[in-house]
Symmetry: C2
Subunit: 198 residues, 2 copies
């Protein structure tokens, strides 16, 4: 279950689910091919393909599969978070910045923002697995715990996890300090990440 | 078994095999992001992402999964061949042409070449499934037949299949007639497709 609905592979079968994933990946790149000027398109292409490949999301997913569930250290959990979920969040922020023609300084600030909310997102996810209800989450609450998966709360405790998530949101907002009100949606996203219930 | 070796999902498990496929897809696009000038990169990106997505390889694969095995018509089989294997062969040829700065006329000729060898490849594959030995193929010979899969020989007979494959190779070579000796590797590939034993 995800967001209250059966997952794709449950509903349409494994073969179709794998193909749907590949199709969406291709569609993302097909979309990038329509960006002009072409220089920005290839720059965004590099960001997204790197972040979702072996040096990003897939690398993190493989590390997550390989690490023995109960023995993960905080450093390993951080590594996995940074790659598995963080890399693509960071790349999404950077892609928007590049598309908007951001200068080097703004791009660096937005990268810091993206890295901070990426890690905050994973910690918030771990906290929700402990505190959320199955109804709110749309998937089984406590499922990470039950499978003995290393989570932030399991590694450092619930209160320290919440403090770390808040700290990361502060860092994200701080990174946006030189931007005007046009950065409000990004500020709202940062706050939403730790306040969300699902 | 493929080429005499166990398939990826047999050797490394399904999760890793799915991730390996996604990783290679990302790596292809990451490689494209390094092409300059950028205008050619986005053009190639569009070719490859379209050919491997829902309007290409994946669309053909889904059609193949959905069509009831024994009831496929020749038209359906052609459709599936053109998408599942043909689209990416066509795109590979076009990508090379674009990379080399081909003019409109040369690109059109190379596209005809790519479409012809793409279809010839699938027919040759079907013929090999009937005539090849398991040792030569590196996978079980006759496996398509055994699963009742619609193949060219099953639909039109072995001799007509061979004639069609030869005809397509002739069309491919004809498409290259205006090119000089630098097109020899492409001519060799066209001939190889119907002569190969695995």
């Amino acid at each position: 279950m995800r967001r209250g609905k059966p997952t794709c592979h449950r509903k349409f079968g494994e073969a179709n689910a794998i193909l749907a994933g590949d199709a969406l990946l291709n569609l993302a790149f097909e979309t990038i091919s329509g960006i002009r000027p072409a220089e920005r398109a290839v720059c965004i292409l590099c960001e997204i393909s790197t972040a979702s490949g072996t040096h990003g999301m897939i690398g993190g997913q493989v590390a997550d599969l390989e690490a023995p569930a109960r023995k993960k250290t905080l450093a390993e959990h951080d590594f996995i978070s940074r790659y598995k979920t963080g890399a693509l969040i960071r790349a999404s922020v950077r892609a928007g910045a590049i598309l908007g023609g951001a200068n080097t300084e703004s791009l660096a600030a937005l990268t810091r923002y993206g890295e901070a909310i990426g890690l905050a997102f994973q910690i918030a996810d771990d906290i929700l697995d402990v505190e959320g209800t199955t109804e709110e989450l749309g998937k089984d609450a406590g499922s990470d715990q039950a499978r003995g998966k290393a989570t932030y709360p399991a590694l450092v405790g619930l209160e320290a996890s919440k403090a770390r998530a808040r700290e990361l949101v502060e860092m994200a907002l701080e990174a946006l300090s030189s931007f005007d009100e046009r950065a409000e949606p990004l500020r709202a996203i940062a706050s939403y990440i730790v306040q969300r219930k699902s």
